[in-house]
Symmetry: C2
Subunit: 335 residues, 2 copies
């Protein structure tokens, strides 16, 4: 990997969250054909929670992983095809082996920021098969910079060829990003990347800070099309990097055209920063909780913001949605 | 003015652009009642182009300045009432004298970044009447930092009690803001302020950079409700400043509630960053040109982005909309 910035497009994966995983074949065809002409390094495709995650519990995809990935691959000549893999959702035998046979180039194996251990087998398998394997640390604001580095080093030992830090709650301030990316860049032997969410309106600038601190891979989504308040808006980032004379190899007009496909074809509601997104970021809670929080708050007639702040104090992570009702009950009694 | 950050809310003025100046009495009542409880320093109300600007040419307000300002003032106890004044649109006798009689507290007198001279009489008049007078330099990216300082010093000499730098095209990178605000803060005797537009997704972070460089007044709009890609999203900025432990005196929950009024009552289309907003910022052209550019591009069957880039090369400013057709004609011949 050279010193240039690799832009990694998560629109067709993180954006799946924003439309409850209902991407259609024609949307994927249209989008991947367009992105393939832009110079974007890779495009990630799949259910919002990654390979093998489609289920009644977290949401059913309209299309199977097989259809999603084969459709994408058939339209990609220049841009690589990536997938998001959370061990637990995706298994090696049932999912990853097949995904590689469908033409996936990059497998990004993700864990909660303190649980890199669970990625060992998956990363090892992908390397063994000769594909690109990245390690992803989710909800990374919940670990100290030193712990993050320890976990990143584990992933590197397991064979990860890049480590990506995810700001899953969109709660980082620029200095938080600077501290973490600097530490990782200086102490890892593989490239470091950053994945922003825009809850505090800092998606673009946190990405810039990451680059200045040494990151070489930056995630983004066209029109910011991702979970909650969305990701760093990819075409904006490309324009800013171009204005700053960074080497990205992006054809800006073609990327703008691709972004306009999202606006015309995918978006039911444009991605904006809602009041609840701001509060969830301040609380440091994954924005995937928002719809549950809103529902429970209404049912118990309490302020959804108070629920978020208490979830933050309890340091909940995805999977602990039951906590929401306990908190709502306590808040109701207090009133 | 103390060392704390004064947040200045332009929603009911810059946001007028986004709805073609069609604010209603009940919207203003509802909004000003709410903002008055938030700790926001001042709220600006009026036609997008300021006092006296309503006309067939730039767009007719639904309400007269008198109704706009009297309605706002009657709901404000704590938050000051501000107006935007461009000499040429607003005259002292016909407009400003009356506006002061309707209870306006702050008059912000604006000129193109190299034409501070035109603000002398207006600033002088406001000071003479004992109201707060600020000087605003619009399209400030078109002047060198040194020229900006010269113009700001003129305004200070005319009596301006604060100087605000406007990034009217939304084209500043963080370092541009840092350089200009630092120079002004170090060389003026009055507070310096910054007014961001979000075309490059940097509205919040450029505001933070401005504060770090010495700015004490920061403009913003709830839900980013302003011209083009909108302003720095005010409630996001307040949340970020709170997270950074700045003193703003803002009740965040109340400000979030106020922002939600905008979403529910005002917005036809949410403010997002369109592809054309990005190009206009890269070109350094005021986003007010966008609708004319789109219309002409369609009529002449040329790429609106090429028009913007050429407008940028020609360094056009508001009022030179005729240039658009000349450029479209030339582009058409080239095809």
């Amino acid at each position: 990997m050279t010193n240039k910035i690799n832009l990694y497009d998560v629109t067709l994966r993180d954006g799946s969250h924003a439309i409850s995983h209902q991407l259609t074949i024609s949307q994927i065809e249209h989008y991947t054909k367009a992105i393939d002409q832009t110079g974007i390094y890779a495009v990630e495709v799949g259910h919002g929670n990654g390979l093998g995650a489609s289920s009644v519990l977290v949401g059913k995809s309209q299309l199977s992983d097989e259809v999603l990935l084969k459709t994408a691959k058939s339209n990609l000549e220049h841009t690589k095809l990536g997938i998001h893999v959370i061990p637990g959702f995706a298994t090696i035998k049932k999912d990853i082996e097949k995904a590689l046979s469908w033409g996936v180039d990059i497998v990004r194996v993700a864990s909660h920021c303190t649980e890199a251990d669970i990625t060992e087998r998956h990363l090892g398998y992908v390397r063994e098969k000769g594909k690109e394997a990245y390690g992803l640390l989710m909800m990374s604001h919940m670990a100290s910079p030193e712990t993050l580095l320890d976990e990143a080093i584990k992933m590197q030992t397991y064979g990860a060829e890049a480590i990506i830090i995810l700001d899953s709650a969109g709660s980082y301030l620029p200095d938080d990003v600077k501290e973490r990316i600097t530490l990782l860049s200086q102490n890892l032997n593989v490239p470091v990347g950053f994945h922003a969410h825009n809850n505090l309106g800092l998606g673009i600038s946190n990405s810039l800070v990451a680059i200045e601190a040494g990151a070489q891979i930056i995630d983004g989504a066209t029109k910011g099309f991702g979970a909650g308040a969305g990701n760093a808006q990819l075409e904006v980032l490309a324009a800013v990097l171009q204005k700053m004379n960074y080497k990205t190899n992006i054809d800006l007009y073609k990327l703008l055209d691709t972004a306009d496909i999202v606006e015309k074809d995918f978006i039911k509601e444009p991605i904006t920063i809602s009041s609840l997104s701001i509060v969830s970021a301040i609380a440091g809670v994954f924005s995937g909780f928002a719809k549950h929080v809103k529902r429970v708050a209404k049912e118990f007639n309490v302020d959804p913001r108070d629920i978020f702040m208490e979830l933050g104090r309890q340091k909940v992570v995805a999977g602990q949605e039951d906590t929401i009702i306990d908190i709502a009950l306590k808040l109701q009694k207090r009133i």
